[in-house]
Amino acid sequence: MMNRLAINIAGLELSNPTMLAAGILGISGLTLSRVAKAGAGAIVTKSLGLQPRAGYPNPTIVQVESGLVNAMGLPNPGIEHFTQEIKFTRSVAPLIISIYAFSTDEFAIAAQKAVKIGADALELNVSCPHAKKTGADIGQDPKLLEEVVKATKRSVKKPVFVKLTPNVDSIVRSAKTAEKAGADALTAINTVKAMVIDIETAKPILSNKIGGLSGSALKPIAVRCVYEIFDAVDIPIVGCGGISTWQDAVEFLQAGASAIQIGTAIAQKGLNIFTQVNEGIEAFLEKKGFHSVKEIIGLSHKSK
């Protein structure tokens, strides 16, 4: 029987449209492989840089009513170190290495290294809302964004996903910029800048004070971003932000996503969430008489 859930995105063959979101359990090859075995169609690493980075001191995460605010500060051992992890992820699912860097040149070098150690594709983190001179500091500047994507594309042959920040005047402009610069796919979205103050002590709780909001609070914002981008670009979109049920996943697919990423919801639902979401999508497709998940991508744009 045909696999209704199979999808090709920017040349990657996914057995289903669910992916692990960047920065979630993505430092260890064995953990990534466990996520793939739990059902994820693709796995994305923690954002890796050229140098090791310790991240911010704790507290790095705060619970809010409808999600989390986090400022981990991109802790990672550096791309080189990841060589010893990558062997564990072989042949379980396509591996996307998320990279960050502090300049155009560095992005090109980081991309090359990531491909060399075995990335099937790259995701450029130009959207982390709480790191300085990287992440959203790049994604918010159309010129810089264009240069970074161009430089990365020139340096590697593997598909390049560009992960966008919603902390901009117009995510459509960012999406078009990335597409024009050669991006093969877009991931939308990273977290929204946010913070929490403890009123008893009058202190911002995160050591970095400001972090990024993830989880269900983000969902209607992320759906809107995917919907807007879908009308503006021709490259595939990976939806991300607050997905915790198969219904959420279908909403993103109908908004225009070709695949979706799951992060925060893992805290609550465990790694089983990938299988749950996939089973839900499959049953939905069957009920509605669709033969492939591709048939519902962007469907909400077609209806009156």
Partner: protein, 275 residues
Amino acid sequence: MSTITQKINFLRIVEIEKIVRESPTVKTFFFADELSAQGKPGQFIMVWIPGYDEVPMSISSTCSDDLVSITVANVGEATRIMHKQEAGGILGIRGPFGNSFSPVKGKALLVGGGTGIAPLVFLAAELAKLKTKLTFLLGAKTKEELIFLSYIKAIISRTKGKINAATEDGSFGHKGVVTELVETTLAKEKFDKIYACGREPMLYKIFELSNMHKISLQMSLERIIRCAIGLCGSCTIGKYRVCADGPVFTSNQLQEVVNEFGKLKRDFNGTKISV
């Protein structure tokens, strides 16, 4: 995310009601918190020292009036600030997190080193309720660092169990390390379960001994905890997350991660370093 995970993960500000000095470097802090008071032996909470750090601490006791305790060794900045606090001071807490020891009936061997004794004391109290026969082996550098000694003696006498201690300087009990006591004890006696908590080289040795004697084992591990809810990946050992899959692991699970257990851990940037 209107689930239990979310509820437990909300930060609560609590007032320290009582502080008990257990040793020159260890203090127990008591405070009231409804959710933590439902915690089980082996579970931990995240303790925010406002303005400084947030660190994982095992629950060392709970009480029906919602009073909970953690037992803290003064080892670095956050724990130093905590040790300076007095009753009336405040802490931010979230949790309890992680799994817990599963209590066994019959005969249990408990092996605790340093502050690793704390969660085992909590466990011992639970096991005593099940009338499990306890053998408690403690280890520390000096007699002064043997925490909870009289409390353990009281539990043990109620359950007709045994207690034995080792100090590195020989100031109390066996002179040497606690694993030597484990070795001699296992040579003489059979147990239904071994529970252990302490430094990883000690745990690894006990893991080997339990394998040798084919006794089922549960031990609590430590790795760097950031999110405590299974997301960030700071705390992995092999394919497992200490915060969400642990902190208590069985012999079988430890076997699966034997390439790292006792050998490698990750530092704050995720680089593997030796334990």
